[in-house]
Every structure is written in C-alpha cells, then in structure tokens.
C-alpha cells in the first residue's frame, strides 16, 4: 500500500504533457518503457478492431497487440488522474501567484479585482461543515431504513421499496437543489426560528435572518445522499450469510441481537464504504448547494442564519463572471476540493482493503 501513490506519480509524469487525443499511444509507450514486451504495440492502438484485423498466421502478434491495447487503457486511468492534478496545478499557480491575500486564511473572493484577493478558508470550512452535518443526519436514518428493508419488511415490500430507493438514488442532484430552494426553505426557516428561540444559547443556533442557511444546505444534501447510502448499505446487509444469522437466532438472540452479532459486524466494511461514498458526494456536490446556500465568505458556526458557502457551489456561482485570474482562482479552489476528496477516498479505500484482506484470509 505504501508504494501505491509513488507508482502512480511515476506513470503520471510520463503521460502528463500529452493531449487526450494521443492518450492511448502515450499509455502504450509508458507501458513499453516499463516492461518492453512487443515493439509492435505502439502501432496498434485503435481498440478491438486493431487486434482482430491482423492475419491469422501472426496470431501471436495479435495476442500481444490486444494485450498492449488493454494495458494502454489501464494506464490511461492513471494518466487521467495524474493529468487532473497536473492541469489544475498548471492553471491554479498563476492565479495563486497573483493573489495578494493569504489563500488559506483570507475570507473573501475578489479575484477579478486589481490586485486580486481571494481565500479558500471559509469555502473549505463550509464544504466540510455542510457535508459532515448532512452525514450526521443521513447516516443513522439511512442505516435504519436499510435494516428495515433487509431484515424487518416482508420480503416483497422490502424488494419493492428497495427498488424505489435505487431509483431515488439516481435522481439528479439539481432536482433536490431546486426542491430545497423552492419548498424546503419555508419549513427550515420556521425550524430555525424555533431552534433559535429555545436553544439560542447554543452558539450554532444563532440569530437570523433565516433562509438560505447552512442548515438548509445540509438538509438538502442529507436528503440527496440518503437514498445513495441506503441503497448501498441495504445491499451489504442482504449479503450477510444466512448461516450466521441463523447461528445467532439459534443461540436465542432477539432480532436486534441477531443484527448486532451477525449482520452489523459483517457489514461494517461495506457500511464504511457506503458512508464514505456519501461523504464524497456531499463534499463534491455543486448545484444543490449553489441553489440553497447563502453564498457568503465568512467562517461562522451559526448554521441557522443566511450564509454559508462551499468550494463547489462557489465555483458554480462565480464562474460566469470570472476573468483569466478568476478562473485560475476557481481552479485553485477546485484543486483543494480534489485534494480533500482524494484524502477521504484513499483513507476509505485503505480501510476497506485492509478489512477485506482480513476477512478473506480468515475465511
């Protein structure tokens, strides 16, 4: 595991200055550099037909060629990941150089001004806060529904509802955003006023005005990731071996105890994966937040008042008016988002892979 990032960086640097149109041959040559197998490979990178078109007598060559083409496709993945980092950095650096404020701490976004000033702090804060709040709401509910669908509901109802949940998971986020902006905003404003009235002594429930707040954004995110997490964890729960469930029941476990001893421990890596996927979605969600957050540039823990922002929402909101430096600044913020999601993802995958190896070696 320790070596993995290093390798990709190596493969990536080989491919980054090449344009996408040449990507496959770039991948192929990178492969040749790594393990020279066949000199013919770079000639033949046009996909399936290329391999099949060679005369039969040279079947051995066709085998090599096909293998090379698939390898090139595999390498393309690494090239794309590396290219994302490289191109974002290439466009972000000039803007960051021009920035006369501290990129990490400045609370504001004026990249079109002269001199340009912009800072990521408030945006990154808002991104993480909304995503975490959303998960805080969505994960317990999602796991509850997943357990209901897999172990409480009658089988037919469970399957039918599971199908509906799968469909809801496919609904585009812009729909949730539109709904949140037009219909959830009223109830959330009422809820905000009520929370402020009775729990205003807790700092996060500060004064208004209420409307497009972090609370609204987080709730819309929560509703959006709910079907996704539910659908994945339901599948995980359904995979629990019946033998283990019966073993627990035969020991005299109640239904809840059966879930605790057999289903939940077995599904833990899958649940972690589902939650992390939900977190990734929530961190990167653009449109739902662009429509529901107040778009301000201050770090505030008051989740009720108008305000809040996130990296992705800010990109969508400010892109149209951005000039050369403005675009660079937005790309720089996107780079930070990329880094955040990359860290979250790699951590999650590392946990899952290690767990999977444990259970596989044990089985």
């Amino acid at each position: 595991m320790g070596e993995t990032p290093h390798r990709s960086a190596h493969a990536g640097t080989g491919g980054h200055p090449v344009t996408l149109g040449h990507e496959r041959s770039a991948g192929a040559s990178a492969r040749v550099a790594e393990a020279p197998v066949s000199p013919r490979t770079p000639d033949d990178d046009r996909g399936l037909g290329g391999g099949g078109g060679l005369p039969r007598a040279r079947a051995f060559g066709a085998e090599r060629a096909f293998r090379g083409v698939t390898l090139a496709a595999g390498v393309a993945v690494l090239v794309i990941i590396a290219a994302i980092a490289v191109f974002l950095i290439a466009k972000a650096v000039p803007a960051l150089r021009a920035n006369s404020a501290n990129f990490w701490t400045f609370e504001g976004w004026f990249p079109n001004d002269d001199p340009p000033t912009f800072g990521i702090g408030a945006l990154a804060f808002g991104t993480v806060l909304t995503a975490l709040l959303a998960l805080l709401v969505a994960v317990p509910v999602a796991l509850g529904i997943a357990l209901y669908l897999s172990h409480y509901a009658p089988r037919r109802l469970g399957t039918a509802l599971g199908f509906v949940i799968d469909l809801l998971a496919a609904v585009p986020s812009v729909v949730f955003g539109l709904w949140g902006r037009d219909y959830l905003v009223g109830p959330v404003a009422d809820l905000s006023a009520w929370l402020n009235r009775y729990f205003g002594w807790i700092p996060i429930f500060g004064d208004g005005p209420y409307g497009n707040s972090i609370l609204l954004g987080s709730l819309v995110l929560a509703i959006m990731v709910l079907p996704i997490i539910t659908s994945l964890s339901r599948e995980v729960f359904l995979q629990t071996p019946t033998a283990n469930e019966e073993a627990a029941l035969a020991l005299g476990a109640t239904r809840w105890e059966m879930l605790r001893t057999a289903v939940l421990p077995y599904g833990r890596p899958g649940i972690i994966a589902a939650v992390m996927l939900g977190l990734g979605r929530a961190l990167g969600e653009t449109i739902a937040l662009a429509l529901t957050l107040g778009s301000t540039y201050a770090i505030s823990f008051n989740i009720l008042a108008n305000g809040g922002n996130s990296i992705a929402a800010n990109i969508a909101n400010r892109f149209a008016e951005a000039n050369e430096t403005g675009r660079g600044a937005l790309i720089a913020s996107g780079l930070v988002l990329f880094a955040i999601t990359l860290v979250v993802n790699i951590t999650a995958r590392a946990i899952i892979y290690r767990r999977r190896e444990f259970t596989e070696s044990a089985a």
């Binding site: 019966e246 020991l251 005299g252 259970t359 044990a362």
Partner: protein, 258 residues
C-alpha cells in the same frame, strides 16, 4: 440438564407446500436420537421445528404440538428466544461468526444473555471448549479469528458455542456432512461424551453414523416428490438396523431405495 421432547401430530409448511405431516415421536432425556431418510423427506424441517427455527423462513409455519418436559414450545405466551436458548442447534456447515475471535464465538450466547464478568466468561469458554474437545488445540490462540480454523475445528467451535449456554437439548443438522472422515470421528466421539449431559437429536445421511452414535433411530420418507414427509418407523437403533419392522425401512437401510 436434559429434557424429554414429545411431538404430537407435527405438520410443517413452507408457504403452501406441506413439508412434513403428522409426525409423532418422543425423545427421552440423555439419549442420542438419529433422524434418517432420503433427501427431501423433511428430517431437517422436523429438526428445525423443535427449536422454532423453521418459522424463521418467510411463509413457514408449524401445526401440531411439540412439548419439552410438558411445556408447549408453540404456546402463544412462549418466548421464542427462551426456546432457542433451551434447545441449541448445530448446523450443517460450520458457521462461526466471521468477525469474532474464537473466544468471542464461544461466549457469544452468554454475552447475549448479559453475562459480562470476564472471570465467568473465561471459565465458561474453557469448559465449553474442553467439552467440545477443542481446548487443547486452540487454548493458545483464543484471540484469533474463529474462521481461521479448519472445517472440523470450526464445527467443534460451533458445538462449543452451542453448549456454552448449557442448553437442555442439542439439535444437530447433518453436522458432519461438510467434514473429512477424521473430523467426523472426532465429532462422533464428542456426541458420546455430550450424551451424559444433553439430549441430542441428529439428522444424518450417513447410516453408519446413525448406527454408531444413536440410541434410537427415526426413519422418515416420502412417497414421491411433492408429497409431505412422514415418520415411517421409530425404534431402538439396533432394532432398526438389524430387524426393521417396515419393508420401506429395510429397503432404505439395505440400499435398495434412496
């Protein structure tokens, strides 16, 4: 510690399908009773009816009466979990909890019942593992995953897990069918020892095994596919295998019908 089981007119269904019909038999305490018969004759269904595991499957239900020392297992006021604690079960394939260590597997049942004291758990785990003839093999690696043991060891671990809660009756559903001959012998030896404390009912496809380990044998059969399984003959094992009362039983044990 061991109790008597009476089945009266037990009929079990899977949805609309009648799997067994009108089973009547009595199992005496501290004996080993073998249930034999061709595939699909309802031996396992009957076994699962005894600790109410049959009804776990969707649409499955049981009619008739099953009592343990006179207490009706299917009475409306009966707590299902209490039945299953009193009547333990070992399954066809070893099914230790994959996420738990050997120790945790053995004490899983006790933990469920709220036993928290480490000293009690340690003692119970050692006792159960010794009773399952597994202690010497695993005492140095109690913290390792239970799924890391060999198939035979896993099955003995499952037996230890079952007897750790000290049930009155132990049901075994073809416990050796997934095991090699040596592990099978180990488990058969174990049954001889466990008989002193528990009432044991075992389903088996292996007639030699039934003849070796059991005191009484019940022969189940079906007329044809789709018909419910019936109890054909129930007698002392010796009698069943030397001088069966029914033609069908004789055909089956001599291999003329299967």
């Amino acid at each position: 510690m061991a109790k008597r089981i009476d089945a009266t007119d037990v009929t079990a269904y899977y949805g609309g399908f009648k799997a067994i019909e009108n089973i009547n038999l009595t199992v005496e305490p501290k004996t080993v009773t073998a249930l034999i018969g061709p595939s699909g004759c309802g031996k396992s269904t009957f076994l699962r009816s005894i600790n109410r595991m049959h009804e776990v499957l969707p649409g499955a239900r049981v009619e008739g009466s099953l009592t343990i020392d006179g207490q009706d297992i299917y009475h409306r006021d009966v707590d299902v979990t209490a039945v299953r604690r009193m009547i333990g079960m070992v399954f066809q394939r070893p099914n230790p909890f994959p996420t738990m260590s050997i120790f945790e597997n053995v004490v899983a049942g006790l933990r469920l019942n709220g036993v928290r004291r480490k000293s009690i758990l340690d003692e119970a785990a050692e006792k159960a593992l010794r009773a399952a003839n597994l202690w010497d093999e695993v005492k140095d690696r109690l913290g390792k995953p239970g799924a890391g043991l060999s198939g035979g060891q896993q099955q003995r671990l499952c037996i230890a897990r079952t007897i750790a809660v000290e049930p009155q009756v132990v049901l075994m559903d073809e416990p050796c069918s997934a095991l090699d001959p040596i592990s099978t012998l180990a488990i058969e030896d174990l049954m001889f020892q466990l008989k002193d404390k528990f009432t044991i009912i075992i389903v088996t496809h292996n007639m030699q095994q039934a003849a070796r380990v059991s005191d009484r044998t019940a022969f189940f059969s079906i007329e044809k596919t789709g018909d419910p399984g019936r109890l054909i003959e129930y007698d002392n094992t010796q009698k069943i295998f030397s001088n069966p009362g029914q033609k069908k039983t004789e055909d089956y044990i001599t291999g003329r019908f299967g």
